[in-house]
Structure formats: structure tokens, C-alpha cells
Symmetry: C2
Subunit: 324 residues, 2 copies
């Protein structure tokens, strides 16, 4: 009745942007990500007799009811499946600096799905855990696997064909991902709200869906061929396109800050000087820089010298879920 | 055989973005602008016997052959029409700070069209001058009239129905336009190239065309009702959408600099504090801020205090072409 799992977070190369089902977290488009080695969540779930409700302890703090309720709603899906009505104690250690713009929900729900299902002896395979994790947070479906991962959008209404698949192991291709922190203040529009508003009001959303299919094909090929420049070019373009769709929303959604722009132009100037370096940006102001391990150190140092850069954290492809 | 005309530049509220005919400067969509009082071109054209070629003197400097050739090609259209083969001396005084991101081509070709046609006694009405000016630079078609102006895209292949019409005189509605200079370096992609690449490669261009029609309706109504807040909201959204279409181009076109982003966020924060203030951005890094004359002074001063702002120039609606 007790299990512990660790899951790493991931960074999307081809972005998940828009849901076709808000309840089941079914996406409008497939997405591709890299699972990272540095940021993770370790979660222990123990179902216990004599608990009146779930208890959620995050980084040694008992979380508020509203945070606990998110976890409880997720556990309800598992309870329903197993027929149990026991409550659980959930103890999480979260090593994801939310200021760095990494979604802690990806590693959080991946670890929770793995630990909770194991604690109830559900005997799920990775595909099933991916489907389960997806129902807590879409991007969590990808953190089940290590390295380069694709979350296939699926077409079924019940979401049973919407899960992640590994493309290339973290052991097979090492690239560097530098997380560049330019602003630490809370963003004013959540990703969930940003996506929803974009789908509902942006005249660019259909253009996004048409172009993302082509981007997926090119990124799969680039990963398969381990062609870094081809990968980077499509990845950077895809991120800019995602942000473009939001600028068309009513009212517009703009996550970029002046520091974001400084880093974008700096990376583009490095590239003009001959260094293969690219960027991606999630729904927030921070920039993630992709480069080859041989260039990692000098790019890290030069980024730190930019006026608006507060912190740079270097990551590499990491492994999928593990049980502790 | 000699005439002098003055034309003011203009700032687009609903952007001209994309040509359906590169040679005749026929636009994909209609656009709406304000002719400004501060920035202008005064041009004297004199057709003379015994000249082997045209001579183009701009701000007291004899221009290079390539610059002169642009003017000559434009005059060829008029020469063809009148049957003359005389060459001309063109003397222009250009009071448009190109660093401020105003297109000097708008006032330049408007003044040139007016002066050249008058010097040959062509007796054109304003509509004809607008059609003529358009063939030098699309936005020049709008500088023929003062105040709020619409350039109707037209549908004919020969462009004879693609010209500007006045919507509201500069005397009827005074608003303030603050030109905020954040960067003076040459932009790396010309507007002409930016629009071409967008039409040819951006998945968002069809979304732009569908949304611009709605924006035109709303801006016409707002101008008619002199409803500043309604105007500002659509204008700001339209500019962000134009820039969004470019982010989807291959390779992406990004005119924004970190200073651009600083000003955008600052204006949006002023608005959150209750001040009716909006912005628009042309194909460049500088921002044009729209506000009411009663708020002009304090917004001007607060903009000047931003770290990345180099200069702020206050404009108001100005008159159309005049003959001197």
C-alpha cells in the first residue's frame, strides 16, 4: 500500500498548445520533448486506513486544501479504478525551480501516477502510466520516458490512444539545455488560460495546427538522424509560432519580457557568428537554450554576462520514471 | 514646368501588410492611418530641357544613382502618361527622422506625386494623386489626406480602385501620438522583405487577412464615434497580430528589441492603472503610443524615464498634401 517514484521534468521541443478535451487533458496536437536530468519530483504515496481525507505534504509543508484537492481529484481516478475508498498520505519532494519556468506539474503528476498506481498494485505498463499521468497534467504524460519523447495526440474520445512513446534514449544523444532565468515574477496568465484563450479567439490557431504537423515530421527525422542544426532550427521556429498564436488572442497574451528579447537576439547573434545554438520558450518569460556539449561552457558564461540574465542552469537529457 | 508640394507622413492604425501586386503596390488588405503634423517632405519638381537624366537632391545632398533611380522609375510613370521625355530636377527636404521608425517613403512619394503631376499640369484630383503616390510606396497613398484616412485595397487588377479616402479631418478629432525611439540601428529585414516572406511562408497570413476585415469595421466605427478606448484596443491588437504573422515566417522575422518589450509592458501597466493609453508598432523596434491630449504630458515624461527609451516625439493629426 506504499510506493515511491521519481520523475524528471521535461522541456517541449514541439509544443503542446491547446486542449481538445479539458477534462481528460487531450491535446489538439502531438508534441515532442526532452526529459531533463536536473529537475525532478520524488513522491511517496501510502494508502492508509483511518484517514478522513488525503494529506499532501510538499517539500515538508502540509499543502493547502486547494492544492491537496488537485491531488485528490487525480487519486480519485485511481480509486475508482481499483474500487478502494481509502485515503492516502502523499509526500513529495520537488526539485523543480518554478522560477526557471519549468512546469513542476509534469514531473509532479508523472511521479504521482507511478507511485499511486504501484502502491495499489495496479501493475500498469508505461503506456498506462503515461495515460494516467496525462490526466493530471498533459506534459506529465511525456515524463514517463527518458531522453527524446513524443506524446501522440490520439484520436479517440476516451483518450486511450493519447500517450507518450520514447523516440531516442538519453544515453544515445547528449545535448545541452541551458535554462536562462530572466524574470522571477509570477506570470499574469496561466498556461492553461493562455491556451484556452488562444484556441477560442486567435485567428492564428488553425495555422498553428497546420504547421505543427510538418514540424513534428522534421523533428522526428532530426532526432533520428541526430542532426542538431536541423533540430534546433525547427524547434526555435516552433516556439516562436506558439507565442505568435497568443499575440492574436483577445485580449493578446504576451509572456515575453525585455530580458526574453535580449536573450533571443543574443542567441541569434551567436548563431550568426557560426555557433550552432538555438532556443525555445515555454509559456513564460524565460528562455531555454539548446547547444552542443562542446559549446556548453562558453555559452553558459556569456549568457551569465547579459544584464537581464539572473541565473543559468545547465541540463542534459535524463531518464524516465524510476521506483525507489 | 515647376511645382512644390508638401506631404506629411502617416502612422497606420490598421496595418498594410502584404502585397497582391509587387509592381503596382496593390495591397492584400485595406488599411487605416493617421496623417501626422510633425514629419513631412517638401519636394520641388522642375522638368527642364537639356538634362540628360533626372537629378535628385535630398536634404541638400545629391543622391546616389540607386536612390535617384527609384525616383526616376516613379517619374517614368508620369512621363509615359504625358508623353514628355524631359528629365527633371527634384529637390526634397525630408523632415522625417528615419531613426524614429517612420517611413519617409510615405511622405516622400506623396509629395513627389503631387509636385511632379502639378509641374506637368496634369490636373489630377486627390484620388488620382493617391493612386499615383501608391505606385511609389503603398503607404504614400494615405498621406494625400489629412487626419484619419483609409486606403481601400480595391479589387481591380490595374489598381484604379486602390486609393485612399478621408475618414475624419484632423480638425475634428485631436489625439496624441508619441513616437518612442528605443533603438536606432538599422533593421536587418526591410518591411518589403518582411511582408513578402510573411505572405510566402507564414501559416498565420490567412488568419491575418480574416481578422483584419473585422478590425477595419471596428476602427471605422470607433473613428466615427470618436471612441478613443475602442479605437486603441483594436489598434494595439492589430499591431501585435501583424508582428505575430512574421514570427511564423521561415526564417522568422522579429523586429522587437528588449526596449520594445519594456515599452509594451509599461504602456500596459499604465492602462491597468486606469489611463487610456495604447500602442502600435510598425515593421521596426520603435513603439508609437496613442493617448488623449490631456494625458500627453505625463505619459511623455514617464516614457522618457524608462531606461531603454532614447527619445520621445509628440505628434498630432496633421493635414494632407499642400502646394507651396
Amino acid at each position: 500500500m506504499k510506493a515511491t517514484a521519481k520523475a524528471n521534468t521535461n522541456i517541449a521541443l514541439i509544443k503542446y498548445w491547446g486542449k481538445r478535451d479539458e477534462n481528460l487533458f487531450l491535446p489538439m496536437n502531438s508534441s515532442i520533448s526532452i526529459t531533463l536530468d536536473k529537475f525532478y519530483t520524488i513522491t511517496t504515496v501510502e494508502f492508509k486506513e483511518k484517514l478522513d481525507s488525503d494529506i499532501f505534504i510538499l517539500n515538508k509543508n502540509i499543502e493547502s486544501n486547494s492544492e491537496r484537492d488537485k491531488v485528490s481529484r487525480f487519486l480519485d481516478r485511481i480509486r475508482k479504478r481499483t474500487g478502494t475508498n481509502l485515503h492516502a498520505e502523499i509526500i513529495s519532494e520537488n526539485k523543480v525551480p518554478t522560477a526557471a519556468g519549468f512546469a513542476s506539474s509534469a514531473s509532479g503528476f508523472a511521479a504521482l501516477a507511478a507511485a499511486a498506481s504501484k502502491s495499489l498494485n495496479l501493475d500498469l505498463d508505461k503506456k498506462d502510466i503515461s495515460i494516467l499521468a496525462r490526466q493530471g497534467s498533459g506534459s506529465a504524460s511525456r515524463s514517463i520516458y527518458g531522453g527524446f519523447v513524443e506524446w501522440q495526440k490520439g484520436i479517440q474520445k476516451d483518450g486511450q490512444d493519447s500517450f507518450a512513446k520514447p523516440l531516442l534514449s538519453e544515453k544515445d544523444w547528449n545535448i545541452s539545455i541551458l535554462s536562462v532565468v530572466v524574470a522571477s515574477k509570477e506570470k499574469n496568465v496561466s498556461s492553461r488560460e493562455g491556451m484556452k484563450r488562444t484556441i477560442e479567439t486567435s485567428p492564428f490557431y488553425s495555422g498553428w495546427l497546420s504547421t505543427v504537423e510538418k514540424d513534428l515530421v522534421m523533428v522526428r527525422e532530426a532526432i533520428n538522424a541526430q542532426d542538431f542544426e536541423r533540430l534546433g532550427e525547427v524547434v526555435e521556429g516552433n516556439a516562436l509560432k506558439m507565442h505568435a498564436t497568443m499575440l492574436g488572442a483577445e485580449p493578446p497574451v504576451l509572456y515575453w519580457q525585455s530580458g526574453t528579447m535580449e536573450v533571443i537576439h543574443y542567441i541569434q547573434s551567436l548563431r550568426l557568428s557560426g555557433i550552432p545554438v538555438y532556443l525555445t520558450i515555454d509559456a513564460g518569460p524565460n528562455v531555454k537554450v539548446l547547444c552542443l556539449p562542446t559549446d556548453e561552457k562558453r555559452i553558459y558564461e556569456s549568457l551569465l554576462s547579459l544584464p537581464s540574465v539572473k541565473e543559468v542552469i545547465t541540463c542534459h537529457p535524463g531518464e524516465g520514471i524510476t521506483y525507489l
